[in-house]
Symmetry: C2
Subunit: 176 residues, 2 copies
């Protein structure tokens, strides 16, 4: 894995680019891509060589990936160096990321909105209360909705998607 096949390289570069679009450091995303397609755990040294980045950079990036919970430190028999592997299950992987982003970004936003609305209640500015209230409602609804589907098995998600428009009728139909 010290040198990459064209396919591996293409995937890793794309994944890195994708990361930056979503606020993830390019190198961090590339390392994750490499570990994701690696058949076996890799030591930091090898990652640095393969991607041509400094060893220290890899060290910090791995810390961040572990912080997201999608990369784990493992040990290989007869090798005292730390090795790293990505989660294999794609659904689980994205659930980890989604959970973390909710915790880091959505929850603080909801807190901010609560504070603003509390302060706005004292003012006679009904307009901003309406606007921030609408935003709050959106986040409350979507997060509580995410809390529901996040624990569905992947198969349920797939089945649901296949239903298409029928899904809507299925759960509004029986009562309305």
């Amino acid at each position: 894995m010290a040198t990459l096949t064209p396919i591996q390289e293409k995937f890793i570069l794309h994944w890195g680019e994708m990361g930056t679009r979503w606020g993830i450091n390019r190198t961090v995303a590339q390392i994750h891509a490499l570990l994701f397609i690696s058949p076996k755990p890799l030591p930091a040294e090898e990652i640095a060589e393969t991607l041509s980045v400094a060893r220290s950079n890899v060290s910090n990036s791995l810390k961040e990936l572990q912080g997201w919970g999608i990369v784990k430190l493992v040990h290989v028999m007869g090798d005292k160096r730390d090795h790293f592997e990505s989660l294999k299950d794609v659904w689980e992987m994205f659930r980890h990321v989604a959970d973390e982003r909710k915790r880091r970004e959505i929850d603080p936003t909801l807190a901010m909105l609560r504070e603003c609305l509390a302060a706005a209640g004292e003012e006679k500015d009904a307009h901003i209360r309406e606007r921030l209230g609408a935003l709050q409602e959106f986040f409350v609804t979507t997060t509580s909705w995410y809390d529901v589907v996040r624990q569905w098995p992947a198969s349920a998600l797939a089945k649901f998607a296949k239903l298409g428009d029928k899904a809507l009728k299925l759960f509004t139909g029986p009562r309305a």
Copy 2:
């Protein structure tokens, strides 16, 4: 609106910070926040003064927001300057952003995966085919699932969220 109340400022700063976390330029997000809470459309000049950024910066940022489809150019009677307003409906707003991100980022990723898988089919590397295949399946399922719910009315989403765990049983129950 040339000067901001503490609440307005708090919201705008937070929204700008939030933007950067998701790969959106800070100023772009701040301008969007300002327009979102503004009771009336604003001219670029006033946005620049209120947020203390260069007029040209506002011009470019507004272009980007229009590109996302969440800010519209409007005209005010008796004023020849362009004015700008944000979408009011929060759900519609996020649907615009989600649609665009799908178009800009998910679709190209699916294309990349198809190409890689096509090329990998020729090789005898079963492992990378398995990995990229799993990723492809994830994106195909989630996007087709998004295509379903994106056209639900907000009320349906809310109702669905309220059901909680019962939602799963509701649509698996009748047949399984």
